[in-house]
């Protein structure tokens, strides 16, 4: 058996993120003891109508969030307990709301920094209604093998280490959350573990004191002894001593009290817990509390360290007298286990996953991105530039300084081509319509295709095909005529032999000046000679030139359009920013710019 929290405890959690975190911890415990999750509902007005996800074993439970406790209990008639994770300024209202619900019998409040007056009002209201109010500042309540309320007990490994999957013989009441866990651990190592452990909170006036819980433990036949961890300040320990000494008690009481150091510290000094302070006239000192407990017949070790052996002694006496039968230990293989997240299982080599994506170019799982294995900062520090990053990410190789210079020039030459071309015009129209940068620039990029800027890849592909197959220019033109159509990379809308494209001249003369082998460029120029002789504007255009040069320096055909896309993106961003800067108005074409060739106005026939 246990007190307060058992297998019938069904919970509503009042609160947001902290409450959800507690529910997750509680689900781990429920899974450990093979019980369904004991949290039925959340109450958190900002999220009402939504659901919270709580992992349970290898699955995921969906728990509803309500606006009020009344709504939650109406929908979940088995809920009898509320955990309050609401901020200090609203905690009192939340606690009252829970207490006033006819289904709720136990309210435990985790909130810290609740005004004393509020805590007293909540305690009084609970007493009046015959209910239990635990906290504020309570880490929670845990009954081994039965129920966990709050994060008390810590991580899953600790639940198992402390044998909380089955009940022992010791009750625990502490003010401190951390120490509740410590005592649970000690009870599991020096004795057979706990029945129920309760954190009552470290405030000056906890809603429920040691005595009320001692009385409950006294009525619980499974609990044979109770450990209380007290501290200086208030009179709760004195009241416990009084209870203990008032008459013969079935349960053994063990106690430690902290705060002896107060005797050698500045008077009035504040410790971590609000309740840990001596009274005005020295009442509530650790010494007077210890003495009172000892006098009442409690076992009070001199130090916290001596508590373990004292618990052991009590346990051995209980075994000797036949009141407790030792519980056989589980073999390590039988201990409860929590399904691991895939990540952890991978780390320990317990699971294998077939990835759905494969990458061969970059990795940012470390402290900085690696481009084809090279840390970005190292590339920067060793003088590499953007063309080298392009080389690494597009072709997985560190290109030479000379190759980088060629790419840089290509990029600079095609960064922009004025506002009238398809890409820039589209971006400008979008910018003037108030569209954001990424969408407007993307709209411009969408224009890149067979007729505008998108011929680089195809030009490269066919020049390469010709060179690879050692075709003559005539064979090539015949092949293209038969299989493809116009030669990509050849021809210009406005430029011609007499009006050459300066960008092409510039690039060709630079690449030629390097003295490197340029079979594709040479072939392309040979093609131009033949085609431009037939028609003046069938010159090698900038797409074709770029394509030939890039294939010459080894870039794969599929990457070639990328050089134009990347470089033109610079221009498109420029156009978008430019329109933004001018605060341009919406563009609408004038009627006279449209040839209205649609049928004239006519009558709509009746619908048949």
């Amino acid at each position: 058996m246990s007190i307060l929290a058992n297998k019938d405890t069904r919970v509503v959690i009042q609160g947001g993120a902290a409450g959800l975190n507690a529910a997750r911890r509680m689900a781990e415990f429920c899974y450990m003891i093979k019980q369904p999750l004991n949290v039925d509902a959340f109450v958190y007005p900002p999220d009402s109508g939504k659901t919270n996800e709580v992992p349970y074993g290898s699955g995921l439970l969906t728990i509803p969030v309500y606006k009020s406790v009344a709504e939650a209990t109406a929908k979940h008639p088995q809920v009898n307990t509320s955990l309050v994770y609401i901020g200090a300024d609203r905690a009192c209202t939340a606690g009252m709301e829970a207490l006033n619900d006819h289904q709720i019998q136990l309210v435990s409040m985790i909130t810290e920094g609740v005004p004393e007056k509020d805590a007293k009002l909540l305690a009084r209201h609970a007493t009046k209604l015959g209910k239990v109010f635990n906290g504020p500042s309570s880490i929670g309540i845990i009954s081994a093998g039965a129920c966990r309320l709050g994060v008390i007990g810590g991580a899953f490994d600790n639940l198992v280490a402390c044998k909380l999957y089955r009940e022992g013989s010791f009750g625990v009441i502490t003010k401190s959350g951390g120490l509740s866990n410590e005592i649970i651990w000690i009870c599991s190592q020096f004795a057979d573990g706990i029945t129920t452990a309760i954190g009552i909170g470290g405030d000056a006036y906890p809603g429920t004191d040691y005595v009320s819980y001692l009385e409950k433990f006294e009525q619980d036949p499974q609990t044979k002894a109770v450990v209380i961890v007290g501290e200086m300040g208030g009179d709760l320990e004195e009241r416990a001593a009084e209870w203990c000494g008032a008459k013969k008690r079935r349960i053994k009481l063990l106690a430690v009290v902290s705060g002896f150091c107060q005797e050698s510290l500045p008077k009035g000094m504040k410790f971590g817990h609000a309740g840990a302070k001596e009274g005005m006239k020295g009442e509530g000192s650790a010494r007077s509390k210890s003495e009172a407990l000892k006098k009442a017949g409690a076992i009070v070790p001199d130090t916290f360290g001596a508590l373990g052996p004292a618990i052991k002694q009590v346990y051995e006496d209980l075994v000797k007298s036949g009141q407790v039968r030792p519980i056989p230990e589980l073999s390590p293989a039988d201990l409860p286990k929590l399904p691991k997240p895939v990540e952890e299982g991978l780390k320990t080599g317990e699971v294998m996953v077939v990835p759905i994506i494969k990458t061969t170019i970059s990795d940012d799982r470390g402290d900085e991105p690696l481009y084809d294995g090279y840390p970005a900062s190292e590339l920067i520090n060793k003088g590499y530039e953007i063309p080298h990053v392009i080389g690494l990410l597009w072709d997985k190789r560190l290109i030479s300084k000379q190759e980088a210079e060629i790419i840089k020039r290509i990029m600079m030459l095609s960064a922009d081509h004025g506002p009238c071309v398809s890409g820039a015009l589209t971006t400008i129209i979008a910018a003037c319509a108030g569209i954001g940068m990424s969408q407007a620039v993307a709209a411009g990029l969408i224009m890149i295709g067979p007729r505008f800027g998108g011929a680089v890849t195809d030009a490269g592909r066919y020049f390469k095909h010709a060179v690879d197959n050692k075709m003559s220019v005539d064979d090539f033109l015949a092949y293209m005529k038969k299989n493809v159509g116009p030669v990509p990379g050849i021809g210009h809308r406005v430029k011609s032999v007499r009006n050459p494209d300066k960008r092409v001249k510039e690039l060709v003369s630079y690449v030629k000046s390097l003295g490197i082998p340029t079979p594709h460029l040479d072939f392309a120029l040979a093609v131009e000679k033949v085609t431009s002789a037939k028609k003046d504007n069938l010159i090698l255009n900038v797409d074709g030139t770029m394509a030939a040069v890039l294939v010459d320096i080894g870039f794969p055909v599929d990457s070639l359009n990328g050089f134009f896309i990347l470089s033109r993106t610079i221009g498109l961003i420029g156009h978008w920013v430019d329109q933004k800067r001018q605060d341009s108005r919406l563009i609408r074409l004038f009627d006279y710019l449209v040839n209205y060739a649609a049928p004239k106005r006519r009558e709509v026939p009746p619908l048949k």
Partner: protein, 399 residues
């Protein structure tokens, strides 16, 4: 608990209808002189001047002067301002009018588990200390208000009669209203006096302790809370308080000069047991500290730096129970960063570090601490299998 100085304390009582003497709080003699021009009572009556600081035994220190005229009060203000008492510099003086009276009484309201107790005695001043049996009590449950009959009964039990009993009952009722509405934890008026001129009960001195946690509903609490142990907070303490106010979880730090054992434990409960263990083994605490509620690592790092800066320390106790949800690896990460910084600054020479801890990711955290040995730290690391406070015993070589 938060202590409030006399001036703001009197202000709160006045708000709830209690008569208090006229007073001014000044931070320079010139300011006092200006106020004297504005207030008749300063120029015409007898005055009391008191240092307006959280200091005990002000009378003995010469920081209370009575029976002054305006000129005398100005001299007293000049004499008190700037006086250094321990770490506190007198920066304000409260000057109030003397209220001629024959008898002194005592009324207080104290927080109890069930609600409050109203205390009354028909003696006051220092007399009440030696006649505590004359103090009578009335218990008031939280949420209740004492009836005037109950208050009058209390006054009569305390030995007041007739008209005075009614007046004391009225005074106690107002003091209770102040207590209840201002989220007070303790209010004491000693002495309460009957003003000779009109018989009105006046509060001559106020002890006011408020519940700092209730500040959110008192927008008119425009005063600072006073340090509670008779000294000003140090720069490092204030810095840690500043961090504490910004984070989830908490970090706390109080310096204790002259100690040799520095404390860096986790948890409001365990930290006191560690302090006890050090004191029990004859160690001298250099500080009180605590971090809890899974604070961010940078906050723990700041706390660690402060602990490492304590002068003359020989041991640092990095203790802690088995945490429920404080991430041991993360918080230890903050401590380790603090240690490294301190070491780089030439601190921690000859200082032994003792670690004991459990909780989420305890293995990773403890392993990281252990690894500090290779960086030349004199560090001793234990896990949950070593009882909580054994590291204090080992540090002080009793085990």
């Amino acid at each position: 608990m938060a202590k409030v100085l006399e001036g703001p304390g009197m202000g709160l009582m006045k708000k709830w209808g209690i008569s208090v003497p006229n007073y001014v709080i000044v931070s320079s003699a010139e300011q006092f002189e200006q106020l004297a021009k504005a207030h008749d009572w300063i120029r015409k009556g007898k005055l009391v001047a008191k240092a307006h600081e959280a200091l005990g035994s002000r009378f003995k220190l010469g920081l209370v002067k009575v029976g002054l005229d305006a000129a005398g009060a100005k001299a007293a203000v000049r004499g008190m301002l700037g006086r250094q008492v321990g770490s506190i510099t007198v920066s304000q003086v409260i000057v109030s009018e003397m209220v001629p009276h024959k008898e002194e009484y005592y009324v207080a309201v104290k927080s109890t588990r069930e609600g409050a107790e109203i205390l009354a005695a028909n003696c006051g001043g220092i007399e009440v200390e030696s006649n505590w049996d004359r103090v009578k009590k009335l218990r008031v449950e939280v949420g209740e208000t004492p009836s005037s009959d109950a208050l009058e009964k209390l006054a009569k039990e305390a030995g007041f009669t007739k008209e005075l009993a009614r007046k004391i009952a009225g005074f106690a009722g107002k003091l209770f209203a102040c207590f209840d509405n201002e989220d007070a934890q303790y209010l004491e008026v000693n002495p309460v006096v009957a003003r000779e001129s009109d018989g009105e009960l006046v509060a001559l001195d106020a002890v006011t302790l408020l519940d700092a946690d209730a500040k959110f509903r008192h927008s008119d609490w425009d005063f600072l809370f006073a340090a509670e142990f008779g000294r000003a907070y140090t720069k490092n303490e204030l810095e840690v308080m500043g961090v504490d106010s910004k984070i989830k979880g908490s970090v706390k730090f109080i310096e204790i000069p002259g100690g040799d054992t520095a404390m860096l434990p986790a948890g409001g409960g365990a930290s006191v047991y560690y302090s006890d263990a050090v004191v029990a083994r004859g160690g001298k605490l250099a500080n009180y500290a605590e971090y809890s509620g899974d604070p961010p690592d940078w906050a723990v790092e700041v706390l660690t730096e402060k602990v490492c800066s304590l002068p003359g320390i020989k041991n640092i106790i990095v203790g802690g129970a088995i945490a429920n949800f404080t991430d041991v690896k993360k918080t230890f990460g903050g401590i380790i960063a603090g240690f490294r910084k301190a070491k780089a600054e030439g601190k921690l020479n000859g200082v032994k570090i003792w670690v004991r801890r459990g909780g989420p990711r305890e293995k990773e955290g403890l392993d990281a601490m252990r690894a500090l040995r290779e960086e030349g730290f004199d560090i001793h690391v234990y896990d949950r299998h070593t009882p909580l406070t054994d590291i204090a015993d080992m540090a002080l070589q009793k085990k």
